[in-house]
């Protein structure tokens, strides 16, 4: 789906998924702790643990929170593409120590190191695992709930409210630009390369003005309901259940133990 559709779908998922009403404290705690462990696993050379994290988060996202697979895969598309490219380069050109293959080239010898391949594999799974943690959080928790968490961990109120407003503005921008772009197309604008550039320029220029105007009206409307500079969010989620929090802590401990047990298992070590 298109870039802006993705934004809309992620936002929508945050409100319509099966875990939407669960405590954001629980979801954030799980997601961030798993993320930290996943990233640490990279420097401790374990790729098994990121795989475990990936499977767990995906299970939670797709089966428990019932997020659409289509959306989940779309979110992974570009990052996976990028990390695959990077890991191929890592595997082929980086590393030191034991070599796997040595290919003679006219000007030099191209050595592929076991360490490079190992790093590539660890990096790939670490990234995918981290992404799954992040996507779990983003797809199940709404921006307003997240803002409450941020406030609780004492992120400056100004930053939090700014993010909330910017978030809202992004959607306003997209809506207005979509309307204007459709209106242009219906009047057969945008045919021919030069024309397309000119029409886009007109659109962008007008877009800023329109969004500014609407933002102004929204601000006036907020003032009319007593806005005093602080965005108060209604907390309508339950307190986190102690049993679930305990489960998460146990899971994290399990993961940490697994890191140390599976460290330095290289695929190459078994193959050769």
């Amino acid at each position: 789906m298109s870039h802006s559709d993705l934004y809309v779908e992620v936002d929508r998922s945050a409100y319509t998924n099966a875990l939407a009403k669960a405590s954001p404290v629980t979801k954030t705690f799980f997601s961030i702790s798993a993320l930290i462990i996943c990233v640490s696993a990279l420097s401790l050379h374990s790729f098994i643990v990121p795989i475990i994290i990936f499977i767990t988060c995906s299970f939670l996202t797709l089966t428990i929170a019932k997020v659409k697979l289509h959306l989940y895969l779309d979110l992974f598309l570009y990052p996976t593409f990028m990390v695959t490219l990077s890991c191929i380069f890592l595997a082929l050109f980086f590393g030191s120590g034991d070599s796997l293959i040595q290919i003679p080239l006219p000007w030099t010898t191209w050595t592929i190191y076991k360490g490079g391949i190992s790093t590539a594999i660890n990096t790939f799974f670490s990234v995918e695992g981290s992404l799954s943690c992040l996507f779990f959080l983003v797809l199940t928790t709404s921006i307003t709930d997240l803002s409450l968490i941020l406030k609780r961990i004492h992120v400056p109120t100004v930053l939090v409210e700014l993010s909330l407003l910017i978030y809202r503005y992004i959607f306003m921008f997209m809506e207005i630009s979509h309307q204007m772009s459709t209106a242009q197309k219906l009047r057969l604008g945008g045919r021919g390369w030069l024309k397309k550039i000119r029409d886009t320029a007109l659109l962008v220029g007008n877009l800023f003005i329109r969004t500014l105007e609407q933002g102004e009206r929204v601000f006036v409307a907020m003032n009319a309901r007593g806005y005093d500079g602080n965005i108060y969010v209604l907390e309508d989620f339950p307190k986190p259940k102690k049993t679930i929090l305990a489960t998460i802590v146990l899971f994290d401990i399990f993961l940490i133990i697994m890191i140390f047990l599976t460290t330095n298992i290289g695929v190459i070590a078994y193959a050769v």
């Binding site: 709404s142 609407q214 006036v220 009319a224 309901r225 007593g226 806005y227 969010v233 209604l234 907390e235």
Partner: protein, 291 residues
């Protein structure tokens, strides 16, 4: 008097004189309609009632005290005088209906539990309870208008000002909103001020009508008296309600003996038609007996 506007003039920064030496008063519990074409100054006038705009000259009095424009005074004013904007998209900004309706009460500093209660009550009044967790952009125009109204009702205002409440609403939605407003006025005594250019809804709702033209009041009175002045209505580029127009034509072109105050609603029209038929029948009988 609940509200008094004294020699109000408002000039925008681009030089447009939106309101030109306008004065009016209205009392608690009244249902006031401001009628006028686009650009007559309706929205500008309404924006003065809850302090969105400040007069260039002149004073607004609320409960016989002039309005103060510091933050605290404005907050107090807006608690009691709610404003529903013409475009609900300008007003609905929160991610869910519940969060949006809660915005007003939360700003007034009420505790979370009371806010939840007020939100549920307000949504019940407008009949939008089942949409409580939905994002506003999933709703239709009429539903958005109802949620916007709920957002104001949750603040428990004494006065509700609505700018073009029925624009972009289908007939059923229009009727629903009007019934809702009338109910609020009757059961809770909420004063209503509506700005509109929809001539046909005015007689159904208002007991006081102001007609605006180019920033001035050109007519003040009840809908019945105001709409009987058909020349004025046309001069300011408005039209009469369909029913009034029909009877005006019958009076002028067909010389039917219609009352001076033209009927404005279907029930009034029905009464008048039956009266005319009755009269005609009586006169026919008289003629018969004469010959």
């Amino acid at each position: 008097m609940l509200f008094k506007v004294d020699n109000l003039t408002h000039q925008y920064s681009d030089g447009t004189l939106a309101i030109n030496n306008l004065s009016l008063t209205f009392d608690k519990g009244e249902r006031i309609a401001m009628l006028g074409t686009n650009g007559s100054g309706k929205t500008t006038l309404l924006n003065h009632f809850n302090g969105i705009l400040k007069p260039t000259s002149g004073t607004i009095y609320f409960e016989d005290k002039p309005l103060e424009y510091n933050t605290k005074a404005l907050l107090n004013l807006r608690k009691r005088v709610g404003f529903v904007f013409q475009d609900p998209n300008d007003q609905l900004f929160a991610p869910t209906v519940k969060q949006d309706v809660a915005f007003g009460p939360l700003n007034l500093g009420y505790p979370q539990e009371q806010v939840t209660k007020l939100v549920n009550e307000a949504l019940t009044i407008v009949g939008m309870n089942e949409y409580i967790d939905k994002p506003p952009h999933f709703l239709s125009g009429g539903q958005k208008k109802r949620v916007a109204l709920a957002g104001i009702l949750a603040m428990q205002p004494e006065v509700i000002i609505m700018d073009e409440p029925t624009s972009s609403l289908d007939p059923i939605a229009t009727s629903d909103i009007l019934h809702l407003l009338l109910k609020l006025n009757k059961e809770k005594g909420i004063t209503l001020v509506l700005a509109t250019h929809d001539v046909d809804i005015v007689p159904l709702f208002a007991n006081k009508l102001y007609i605006l033209n180019k920033g001035k009041i050109v007519s003040e009175g009840t809908p019945k008296t105001s709409f009987s002045n058909t020349e004025l209505i046309r001069k300011v580029n408005l039209r009469s309600p369909r029913i009034a127009h029909l009877f005006e034509v019958l009076k002028k072109e067909n010389n039917l003996p219609i009352t001076d105050e033209l009927p404005l609603t279907i029930s009034e029209a029905r009464k008048e038609i039956l009266r005319l038929i009755d009269q005609a029948v009586k006169e026919a009988k008289k003629e018969q007996t004469q010959y």
